[in-house]
Symmetry: C2
Subunit: 219 residues, 2 copies
């Protein structure tokens, strides 16, 4: 396995959502609801793509957040919704990711990001966390207008980087992301710190560890 | 709008998940986690379909339930997982649905169900709730091997019932389901009792009310 390019998923994989949990708590929403929210945003994004249409993460995020307030009988204003959405600009990088990026640079392996969110926001996060120098390019689904895990998203990223899919490693904490990349023909690494296990029906990843540094050490 | 056929979504739309909440509480899992679980099952099902493969609701349900236990640091056994999954055989019908089915029979409008779950389990639920006499047939995605809201699922159901899509009404509490049916060319009704609002970017449904009876009265 000769890896020349590592593609990182962004939300939850590189950056923690603990800032969003803080904003939920301030607004008297239970911490568990962050999980409900994030999962719902993905669910609606996948569903919309499956029904043959495209809508961006941010737009779904706003609507799903309003539903959370309504379902939990908490008042909200447009300004409050905006403030919570802005939390996505202030996420902190996971420590194992920072370490991993440094090691990848030493190993001269290229690094890019690929998100169902916004590439522009990813750039902001990389900069504010002081890790922009480790990442060559930021990709998003917003050009191809199909949500991961549709295989075209992974294949297009490899093409744009002019690196063969067999020499590319997709790294994520989400089983569906790792499985989608594997089905598209990429090499894959599953970080288990978040989901804890991979569903039995998913294709086994090439690498698998509790944290990303353990994965990168093996490259 | 001449409706000759009403297609009901099953989980949450016809049947309450309160039995699942009870089973979660018995096993010291917070009630909110039912929402996390159900939403994750849909998310993974949509994702898998989007990546070009098919897996059934039950299989995803088992795997996502194990993740919930692991993520919340609660011990589990295979027997315990089985017991909770069996909860789906014991769901109770929402009162507005029971009323609606009676009225639809009076109006001589045909009724079928269409679920991302199992058609066999739907039949069991209809029978144990004493409402099987109101439903002509039960459909599931398990033949077509594509998850709703892919348009083929809705169109195939209309074809099998030999009723035009323009004369068919899809009824659901999920925005993504109602939107998918609308994109496929069916008429749609959104019951808002569960999600409280419809995302702005979804196509407006033909009918919309807090409970199903209000919708059926208008047919």
């Amino acid at each position: 396995m000769k890896i020349k390019l590592v593609i990182f998923d962004v939300n939850q994989t590189m950056f923690s959502l603990s800032e969003i949990e803080r904003l939920f708590r301030i607004n008297k929403l239970k911490k568990e609801l962050v999980e409900v929210w994030f999962s719902s945003v993905l669910k609606e994004g996948f569903a919309y793509s499956l029904s043959g249409q495209y809508i961006d993460f941010f737009n779904i995020g706003i609507n799903e957040l309003k539903k959370i307030f309504l379902q939990n009988k908490k008042p909200f204003t447009e300004k409050l919704i905006d403030n919570i959405m802005k939390g996505f600009e202030n996420l902190n990088v996971h420590s194992d990711i920072k370490q991993s990026l440094k090691l990848l640079k030493k190993k001269k392996i290229k690094v890019v990001t690929l998100t169902n969110g916004s590439d522009e926001n990813t750039r902001k996060l990389l900069k504010s966390n002081g890790i922009d120098k480790y990442v060559e390019r930021c990709f998003s689904i917003n050009k191809i207008r199909l949500w991961k895990p549709h295989k075209e998203v992974y294949l297009t990223t490899c093409k744009r980087m002019k690196i063969k899919k067999e020499n590319t490693l997709m790294v994520a904490v989400h089983g569906w992301d790792v499985n989608g990349a594997k089905l598209a023909g990429l090499k894959t690494a599953f970080i288990s710190r978040y989901e804890k296990m991979l569903s039995e029906f998913y294709m086994p990843p090439d690498l698998n560890a509790e944290n990303c540094y353990e994965i990168v050490k093996k490259l």
